[in-house]
């Protein structure tokens, strides 16, 4: 490995005590794992809540242990907290803060993040946000029921329902704390990428994972501030008697509200200005991982590296101009709706470029279907399946019919939820050997993949048809509704599929912890990848490269290089063809 014989410039030494090593650690790798395990805990909370919803939808009077019968307001609470945990504490946390923290510095040849103390603060602030959110379950009235989007005036009026008192306050406070943590994280990511790349690691030599984390961090920096401002106004409406979002003349539960003049649509604008970029905050890191893996496991360079970079940037930029498509139902001007519709459909262009390039990458490659690759291909499949319903919803006329139906639930779960989760799985199976020094069990991984892929499609594809059949979303009990009776078998099928898919996740968790201790020992570069993390010890040492910084000579996807003895060239390889100097490149004899 080519390296630079200078100090790595590491600002903190290796910790020795347990607390500094594993709890209040400044090491980006430990912090990345902390984020990862926080997301793992959150995803199980989110899954449990979704399972309760699915049970309630087909057996509305079922008696749930410790909970009893799920009442309609409890259903809304489950819906709210499922969305909240999944969007904020899983989809925002694991792909960006988890894997990004662990691998971004290594992939750009840095000893750590730019601001290690801020990094630690960022995690613990997120953890506080998590605790505050959990606390909302246990206060009087329970957790809120205003949906993960926190629509006003429901979210702004404490008397609007159980959970809208202290539970809703805690929800808003938790989200505000999460915003602050995310802003700190975004600051750190951007500074690290701009300032800590090693010699030779030009922007256009960065792995696409780093590009994805970079653009995601910029999206976070620009979006979370706006959500924070909206949260502050909402808290003021609830506790200080202001009227930002609550209109006048509102009667809630038989009582006229004293607020006047506020605009519920103002909340929606502020929320969705954050909310739509949030979709890309969740999915972009998955795109980066898919790109990395499709190239590695096809043993081919990524097809159109620059186009992939520009597509990531394009998606990021366009993502800020489309928030209105979440509000076609709100009675906005048709001219505004047309503009938002046009911009939304324009996002299809960079998305199609990415999909085309992914297919181009695996086309005629020597594809190896190891578990990381399976999940990367699964990611592309889900991205396409979920993405294809996007242009339908981007058109106001169609959206007005479909918006409040299960069609939308199917759409965003496929493209934002499960696709991003597949990105997390792909990254886990790919980087596990580097993180823990052992391989994950492959048969278990394959079983996990097929059960999850089939289960996911079994859950969400039927929801499209339910939506087209006008089955509304957000309603707790529709089992007695005559015109939806013909959909009940489909509902039952979806719930059974959810049972099986959730059960399959225990295979993953078992594999994860079992492999940490019992898995086959991994070599430093088991997948024959080219990027910098595969040049380090396994697991990487405290400062990643052992007091030296690497020097980069190549792009990140040098696979099937003609003449290269190993078919690939590491980024740090100083020779042009991976140690093999072809005849024509040999120095000529002196004449």
């Amino acid at each position: 490995m080519a390296e630079h014989n200078e100090h790595a410039g590491h600002e903190h030494g290796a910790p020795t005590g347990f607390i500094r090593k594993y709890i209040f650690s400044l090491d980006h790798k430990v912090i990345g794992l902390q984020y990862y395990f926080l997301a793992l805990a959150s995803v199980f909370i989110g899954m449990l809540l979704s399972l309760l919803m699915r049970i309630h939808l087909i057996w509305p009077t079922a008696h749930i242990p410790l909970m009893g019968e799920i009442k309609p307001e409890m259903y809304l609470t489950l819906l709210t907290m499922h969305g909240t945990f999944m969007v904020f504490f899983v989809l925002t946390t694991a792909p960006q803060s988890g894997f990004g923290n662990y691998f971004l510095p290594i992939q750009i040849g840095a000893p750590d993040m730019a601001f290690p103390v801020l990094n630690m603060l960022s995690f613990w602030t997120t953890f506080v946000a998590f605790l505050v959110m959990i606390a909302a379950f246990f206060v009087e009235g329970g957790a809120p029921l205003h949906g993960w989007t926190g629509y006003a005036p429901l979210s702004a009026i404490p008397s609007a329902g159980p959970g809208e008192t202290l539970g809703a306050d805690l929800w808003i406070i938790s989200i505000a704390i999460f915003c602050i943590a995310s802003l700190m994280g975004a600051l750190n990511f951007i500074t690290t990428i701009l300032d800590l790349r090693c010699k030779g690691m030009s922007l256009m030599r960065m792995p696409l994972t780093c590009w994805a984390w970079f653009i995601t961090a910029i999206l976070g920096l620009l979006a979370f501030g706006v959500l924070l401002s909206a949260g502050i106004l909402l808290l003021a409406d609830r506790n200080l008697g202001t009227s930002f979002f609550v209109p006048g003349g509102l009667v809630v539960n038989g009582t006229q509200i004293q607020h006047k003049g506020g605009s519920p649509l103002l909340w929606q604008h502020l929320f969705w200005f954050f909310g739509h970029p949030e979709v890309y905050i969740a999915i972009l890191p998955g795109m980066g991982v898919a790109s990395q893996l499709l190239s590695t496991f096809s043993r081919k360079p990524i097809f159109g590296y620059k186009a992939m970079v520009y597509a990531i940037v394009g998606i990021g930029v366009l993502g800020f101009f489309v928030w209105g498509h979440h509000m076609f139902m709100s009675g906005m001007s048709p001219y505004s709706a047309f503009a938002f519709s046009l911009m939304t459909m324009a996002i299809g262009v960079p998305s199609a470029i990415k999909t085309f390039n992914w297919l181009g990458t695996i086309w005629r490659g020597r594809v190896q279907f190891d578990s990381p690759m399976l999940f990367a291909v699964g990611f592309v499949s889900l991205f396409v399946s979920g993405g294809l319903s996007g242009p339908f919803l981007a058109q106001p006329l169609l959206d007005i019919y479909l918006h409040d139906t299960f069609f939308v639930v199917a759409h965003f779960h496929l493209i934002m939820g499960v696709a991003a989760i597949f990105g997390i799985f792909a990254a886990t199976y790919y980087w596990f050997p580097k993180m823990f020094g052992r391989m994950m069990n492959e048969p278990m991984a394959q079983a996990h993949f097929w059960l999850t892929l089939i289960g996911t499609y079994a859950i969400f594809m039927p929801m499209h048809y339910e939506g087209m059949a006008a089955r509304p979303r957000r309603y707790s009990q529709l089992t007695e509704v005559a015109w939806l009776q013909h959909l009940m078998p489909v509902e039952k099928f979806v719930t059974y599929a959810a049972f099986i898919t959730i059960a399959a996740q225990f295979i993953f968790v078992f594999n994860l912890f079992w492999s940490m201790f019992k898995g086959q020992r991994a070599t430093d570069n088991p997948w024959h990848s080219t990027t910098l993390e595969w040049t380090t010890a396994t697991p990487p040492v405290h400062d990643n490269f052992g007091c030296k910084t690497p020097v980069v000579y190549h792009g990140p996807y040098e696979y099937s290089v003609p003449g290269a003895p190993n078919d690939y060239v590491m980024q740090t390889d100083p020779t042009p063809h991976g140690g093999h100097v072809p005849k024509e490149d040999k120095p000529l004899e002196a004449e």
Partner: protein, 243 residues
């Protein structure tokens, strides 16, 4: 005599970034200078911290941009008046205590100027220390002046809030007053964060820390502080003229 070419070009279809040798120096972060104890060089640290603060200020800006858009939208929003049943706009322009706020503005701008003088003075001290070593005569107390003026601004803001409350203008009185309190209090909270950094810088001076360390803190804080001064002027103009 023919020698090995200085650069090799791989087939462009391989790899994403263009595998040209040698690597572009500095193109990828460049060389990191370090001191003997392994910590990054002062200039590297300064560059990194400056970059970090500037990026962080973009995030802060987005909070206030969000509030500004809410300010404009809420100002034009009209809803049904429960008493009359007609659409009406309940926004009533607020009369600001311009004199007191103007004085506060002056204090903050002077504080910003004093901090800039302190930064420049420290920069000169650092240059001298680099050349002949530390131990020269102490710099003028511009940092202390900046801290005092900054505290003056915060105290002045509390005075303005109390004055308004004494006149019956509370946060819930009208949407215009709601925005006034939210914008000014949020700005004050941000400024208090800057004040904590300034007090830390003052502490490093009192504890006779190295000029480099003091300059690092003061330089980075000054970017934040100047931004807060400009942000305050923006908020003042918004509240005074966009009614």
């Amino acid at each position: 005599m023919s020698t090995m070419p200085a650069t090799f070009e791989l087939d462009k279809k391989h790899g994403g970034g263009g595998p040209t040798l040698p690597p572009r120096r500095g193109g990828g972060g460049g060389e990191s200078r370090s001191s003997s104890d392994g910590t990054p060089d002062f200039r590297d640290r300064l560059q990194r911290y400056r970059l970090g603060v500037c990026v962080g200020l973009i995030g802060v800006s987005m909070v206030f941009i969000g509030l500004t858009s809410a300010y404009v939208v809420r100002q034009g929003a009209s809803t049904i008046d429960p008493n009359t049943g007609f659409y009406s706009n309940d926004w009533r322009p607020m009369t600001l205590p311009v004199a007191a706020l103007g004085l506060n503005t002056a204090l903050l701008l002077l504080s910003s100027i004093a901090l800039e003088l302190s930064r420049r003075s420290l920069k000169r001290q650092y240059a001298v220390a680099e050349a002949v070593g530390e131990g020269q005569a102490p710099a003028p107390p511009w940092l202390a002046v900046s801290v005092v003026l900054g505290i003056g601004f915060l105290v002045g803001q509390v005075f303005v809030w109390n004055q308004l409350r004494a006149h019956g203008v509370y946060i819930s009185t009208n949407p215009s007053s709601s925005f006034f309190y939210i914008l000014t209090v949020l700005h004050a909270i941000h400024l208090a964060g800057g004040m904590a950094a300034l007090l830390y810088a003052e502490g490093t001076e009192l504890l006779h820390r190295s000029v480099a360390k003091r300059l690092l803190v003061v330089d980075v804080t000054s970017i934040y502080w100047h931004f807060m001064a400009v942000l305050w002027v923006y908020i003042f103009v918004l509240l005074q003229f966009v009614k």
